[in-house]
């Protein structure tokens, strides 16, 4: 629900619209309409020029931020599209769908069909993350798949229970995978070893997000009990739990550079930051 990029935040929801906010001031900047069903995920490009969103109407849309127009709509998924991401240069949109495929859409050309379809997953893809040369996808079949474009390899790690969210650590060495057995696992990217396992939160039914803090010090995960839990990444001890709300904390995103957290629950978005936070 809340993909974040620097100074703005995007929310998307079942009202079929995307909304652009300034989280620091709490002002709504714009709303984008054009999806036919609820919008499940959204992301912004690095230059804040474009947005991409995916929806339960099986489409992925590319938006122009300024005009609010849909630049492209990519149809091809056979089911709800769960997650969407830009690559670093906003030339590719990678979307993961419930149809167990990850599709890479080209933003530059007008090709209607995806550049590549990654259909190795055996079940719906719940989460997709991109690094400079990798595509990380977490699937309900319990596998974390990492497609390394540079090496031309696919690494497939089995976690055991359906994965709700994956993310890279900021240093690119580890992957974090939250799964439905209420466990947050930190896996070594290269070997697939388990580096840490965090429990304490509750995640059994919803697709909840997990984050890594801006300096790889903590890992965080949303919980169904209305808290956001943070563990020390190295020690694995529970560092803090933030009481966000009563309901399920559905989405979570960490500011890329600042200790700043956005959490979405029950139709509201909360911004958490340290007391000493200084706006730049």
């Amino acid at each position: 629900r809340v993909p974040v990029d620097g100074n703005y935040c995007l929310t998307c929801g079942s009202d079929k619209t995307l909304k652009l906010w300034n989280p620091h001031k709490g002002t709504a900047l714009r709303s984008y309409q054009g999806h036919g069903y609820e919008v499940l995920d959204a992301a912004g490009s690095f230059d804040n020029g474009h947005l991409c969103s995916c929806s339960a109407d099986k489409t992925v849309a590319l938006w122009d931020v300024a005009t609010g127009q849909v630049l492209r709509k990519y149809r091809g998924h056979a089911g709800k599209v769960n997650c969407v991401q830009f690559n670093e240069e906003a030339t590719i949109i990678v979307s993961g769908s419930i149809d167990s495929t990850v599709r890479c859409w080209d933003c530059r050309s007008r090709r209607p069909d995806p550049v590549q379809v990654l259909d190795e997953a055996k079940d719906g893809v719940s989460s997709v993350k991109l690094s400079s040369h990798e595509i990380l996808s977490g699937s309900v079949d319990g596998h974390v798949r990492r497609y390394d474009l540079r090496a031309g390899q696919l690494y497939c790690d089995y976690v055991g229970s359906p994965i709700t969210s994956v993310c890279f650590s900021k240093d690119g060495q580890c992957t974090l995978a939250a799964s439905l057995d209420s466990t947050l696992r930190l896996l070594d990217k290269d070997t697939g070893e388990l580096l840490g396992e965090n429990k304490g939160h509750r995640s059994t039914t919803y697709r909840l997000d997990c984050v890594v803090s801006e300096q790889d010090t903590h890992v965080g995960c949303a919980s169904e009990d209305g808290h956001v839990y943070f563990w020390d990444l190295v020690e694995g001890s529970l560092a803090r739990s933030l009481p966000v709300g009563r309901g399920v904390v559905q989405s979570l995103s960490f500011h890329p550079t600042l200790p700043c957290l956005l959490a979405a629950t029950e139709g509201q978005v909360q911004l958490w930051r340290e007391d000493s936070f200084q706006e730049q």
Partner: protein, 914 residues
């Protein structure tokens, strides 16, 4: 006519008349306009058409009546004077002469009137009338018409008249009135439908009244009329086909024909349908299909009803079958009562209760089956025609006869699947039947054989010195052995030695001998066994061979059953030779599951595939294409040979070699009788590691040390095996096998092992060892299966092979010998087979075990200390080294630890790397 004026017009063919050449200077005639075209009659008078409503052609001169050329109506003439010749004007008086012409209004042609119309016409009418009479609502109405107006005189009638026939008379010899009335004479057999007597009489009377002239003695000219009202729902005039007709058509017709012969005599018979000059009667059993106006064809649908046939047997009629003899009434009554018991329903009209029950149908007993009859039809195998197949087909034909005979001898239950398949005519499985040896690679087979022989030699050597105790002379012992074998083999024997198992395929002579041997064994001629053996060999060799044969025969059965449970046949279609499969197989999900349960992430849970990204994707990501020259996108697919064991058999090779090394080591330690119990240490160590802070994990990961530490200790396998075999009852060779097959780990075991606290000491070392054994083997398996699935099974198979070959060995003399034997086994043997399997001397072992336990506890203390030190030291090196050393330290005795550490460590490493 064709005009050909010029030479060039010769080829042209012209049709029709050529137009007259136009005269010069004459103008073309103008075409007459339509309104000016006129029609003139024969006399040149104009005729004009008036139109349909004004009378057609003009009457008179241009419709002018009374003009000078026109038609003048006749004027009134007084009839006073001309009263006598007064004429009545007909319509002809007012007609022009042309009206009487051929095409006029009243053409005056001479035509035959109806009365003189041709006879054919008449007949048709007649027929139509007849049918109308049948069909009409009041049947027989046409008959009255006929009576009123005299029937048309036709040629036939005329002829008849000339012969003295008169209208209304019947045809035939003159009869008296009286006999006419007595027509339904009982003496005359009544065929046809017998009308109820009342009805027929009534109809006759009617006829009489209307035909007074028939009072003469001429036969009545009657047209029998069916006065029976229509009651059924059939179409008019339709009568269903008679079952009797359908059933005995020919005979029925014969019946009719017979009757036709004397139709003349019984011409007036009411039921006679073919009577009366071919005239059709009302009740003809005509089904649809013969047109109303067509001549009747009797033979198509003969009119036959059941009532034509006697419902009563004729014999009985005069006096109930007692010709001339009157049976006592009582008897009759009895009979009737009997009958009445049988049938108590209402008897239909026209039916009588049969006086004699129909003769019971004779029951013939089925022919006795031949003794060796089996109710299975044997289909010859179908061999497609073709040049190459011809010979095969021939051979098959020749062989099947023999084959069948052979099979008859066996009982049905003794047949094996392939035999049954053959009998059922199913096509045989493609490829060699699944005997393990076929699946093994050549090299493996060779080695296996060598090993087996070697072991047998050893065994013999051991047995021979023992035997004199039991029996004085060699032959008896052999006989005893064969007895024992027979008992062991028991029911399996029937299957053994069937064609697809060739344990000695390498050595055809031997194979032949083996087959003979098996056959003879099957027939129970154990005494003659020896004669089949090679006479050139020494007695010892012969003995050995026999033993080998026994073992092979047994092995065949066990292996086939073991294998059948292990291999699944049709993952892909059989006839497809190659299957497109992802080149890199994903690991078994079960393995992964267990790994996850054990938190052994890393290699076990990771699959690594070659993945080809789209070029454009690479470009967009600003990444050089990792496979610039490949055109594949995604996971590479490989055309691979059909899923067969051969694909995987080469893989496990190294595993065995590793296990050999460890094996030898184990044997050494065993021989020294210094038992090393499987490492609590590993377990506890792992626990510790797990409990270690994650930071350690991370640091480890960062340092990119070799990642494969989390595997359980492999050398534990051997120890576990020894322990296991000790604990297991010795005679259950098959059980052993089963256990090994099932050695895939259950999660509980894993849990039990890996979550047990380190404090829990070796209170029950026995159980521990057992427990230890299974996961350990499983690890070996999973190691093997890492690349592909089946090799695990194949390695198991190897174990099985050895196990089975050895399991039969009766007695285990000494540990010394045992050591020798196992060392001989050396390279090829999987760990399972070490000393323990031979140990049948439980008592002895018990003692040893006690000793061992003592020693172990001592050692364990020692080890703990050692280990701690080592652990600290080696932490930096990386886990797996650490573990290897732990293993070593725990598994090796203090004396040999130094020397052995390296080897085992290496072995473990090797294993892990794979």
């Amino acid at each position: 006519a064709a005009g050909s004026s010029g030479s060039d017009e010769d080829e042209l063919v012209s049709y029709g008349t050529a137009l007259q050449p136009l005269p010069e200077g004459e103008r073309l005639k103008k075409p007459v306009p339509l309104q000016e075209q006129t029609v003139k009659d024969a006399k040149g008078r104009y005729q004009r058409f008036h139109g349909a409503f004004t009378g057609g052609f003009s009457a008179g001169y241009f419709n002018t009546v009374g003009t000078k050329e026109g038609w003048a109506p006749s004027t009134f003439v007084s009839s006073r004077q001309k009263r006598a010749d007064r004429t009545v004007l007909g319509p002809e008086d007012f007609m022009d002469e042309e009206d009487f012409s051929e095409f006029g209004i009243a053409p005056k042609n001479i035509t035959t009137t109806d009365d003189f119309a041709s006879k054919a016409k008449d007949r048709i009418k007649e027929k139509a009338r007849q049918i109308a009479g049948v069909v009409a609502t009041i049947p027989g109405i046409t008959a009255f018409d006929d009576l009123i107006g005299p029937s048309k005189i036709t040629v036939g009638v005329e002829l008849l008249r000339k012969m003295g026939w008169k209208e209304g008379q019947g045809i035939g010899p003159r009869v008296k009135r009286k006999p006419c009335r007595q027509k339904p004479d009982p003496a005359v057999k009544v065929y046809g439908c017998a009308l109820p007597p009342g009805l027929s009489a009534g109809s006759e009377d009617e006829e009489d009244e209307y035909q007074p002239e028939n009072v003469t003695f001429a036969p009545k000219d009657i047209m029998p009329v069916d006065l029976i009202p229509k009651e059924n729902v059939h179409g008019l005039g339709y009568k269903g086909l008679d079952p009797s007709q359908a059933l005995f058509g020919a005979s029925g017709r014969g019946h009719l024909n017979l009757f036709a012969g004397d139709s003349e005599d019984t011409s007036n018979l009411i039921g006679d349908l073919r009577h009366s000059k071919g005239r059709k009667l009302g009740i003809t059993g005509q089904a649809f299909g013969v047109g109303a106006l067509e001549e009747e064809d009797d033979d198509i649908y003969a009119t036959e009803t059941l009532s034509k046939y006697d419902t009563i047997l004729k014999d009985e009629e005069p006096g109930d079958g007692f010709y001339g003899w009157t049976a006592p009434k009582q008897y009759k009554a009895n009979k009737r009562s009997e009958r009445e018991v049988k049938y108590t329903g209402i008897i239909l009209d026209g039916f009588l209760l049969a006086s004699k029950s129909s003769t019971p149908s004779k029951v013939y007993p089925p022919p006795p089956l031949p003794r060796n009859y089996r109710p299975v039809h044997y289909f010859r195998p179908v061999v497609a025609d073709g040049n190459e197949n011809y010979r095969l087909q021939k051979a098959l034909e020749e062989s099947t006869g023999k084959l069948e005979r052979d099979m008859r001898q066996q009982s049905r239950h003794a047949l094996n699947a392939s035999q049954r398949r053959e009998q059922l005519g199913e096509t045989g499985l493609k490829g060699p039947a699944p005997s393990v040896l076929e699946y093994l690679s050549e090299k493996d087979r060779e080695r296996l054989k060598k090993v087996k022989q070697a072991s047998e030699q050893k065994m013999k050597a051991k047995i021979i010195p023992q035997e004199p105790r039991n029996s004085s002379c060699q032959p008896t012992s052999l006989d005893g052995a064969s007895h024992k074998w027979l008992k062991l083999l028991g029911p399996q024997l029937a299957n053994a030695g069937s064609s697809d198992f060739k344990p000695f395929a390498k050595n055809p002579e031997k194979q032949k001998r083996y087959e003979i041997f098996v056959r003879s064994l099957k027939q129970g001629e154990k005494d003659t066994l020896e004669q089949y053996l090679d006479p050139n060999t020494t007695e010892w060799e012969r003995e050995r061979e026999q033993e080998e044969f026994f073992r092979a025969a047994m092995f065949y059965k066990s292996s086939s059953s073991a294998l059948s449970s292990r291999f699944t046949r049709a993952k892909y279609e059989d006839d497809v030779d190659k299957v497109e499969v992802p080149r890199d197989q994903e690991k078994d999900i079960d393995d992964k599951e267990t790994a996850v349960k054990m938190k052994m992430f890393g290699k076990l849970t990771r699959d690594k595939f070659e993945w080809h990204p789209e070029k454009l994707l690479c470009r967009r990501f600003n990444v050089p294409d990792p496979y610039p020259e490949s055109s594949i996108v995604g996971l590479p697919k490989v055309k691979r040979d059909k899923y067969s064991v051969f694909n995987f058999l080469t893989v496990p090779e190294p595993t065995t070699s590793v296990t050999q090394a460890t094996n030898e080591k184990v044997q050494q330690s065993n021989s020294l009788n210094k038992p090393k119990k499987p490492s609590r240490w590993d377990v506890s160590d792992k626990e510790k590691e797990k409990k270690d802070s994650i930071s350690e994990f991370i640091s480890l990961a960062r340092s990119k040390a070799d990642a494969q530490q989390q595997q359980p200790p492999v050398p534990a396998t051997e120890e576990g095996r020894t322990g296991l075999s000790e604990s297991l009852p010795t005679e259950a060779a098959n059980e052993d096998k089963d256990q090994e097959e099932e050695s895939r780990p259950s999660i509980d075991l894993f849990k039990a092992i890996f979550t047990s606290s380190s404090d829990e000491k070796s209170s029950s070392s026995e159980e521990e060892s057992e427990e230890e054994e299974q996961p350990a083997t499983s690890v070996v398996d999973s190691e093997a299966t890492k690349q592909v699935d089946p090799p695990g099974s194949s390695s198991n198979v190897q174990e099985n092979v050895v196990a089975t070959t050895d399991s039969g060995v009766p007695l285990l003399p000494t540990s010394k010998q045992e050591l020798d034997a196992t060392e001989e086994f050396g390279p090829k043997l999987p760990p399972a087979f070490s000393s323990g399997r031979f140990c049948r001397l439980l008592i002895k072992r018990e003692k040893q075990r006690k000793n061992r336990q003592k020693q172990k506890t001592k050692r364990e203390h020692k080890h703990k200390k050692e280990k701690k030190k080592k652990h600290k030291k080696q932490k930096t090196k990386g886990k797996h080294k650490n573990k290897g050393s732990e293993k070593d330290s725990s598994s090796d005795t203090a004396d040999s630890s130094d020397s052995d550490t390296d080897t085992t460590g290496l072995a473990a490493k090797e294993l892990l790397r794979r």
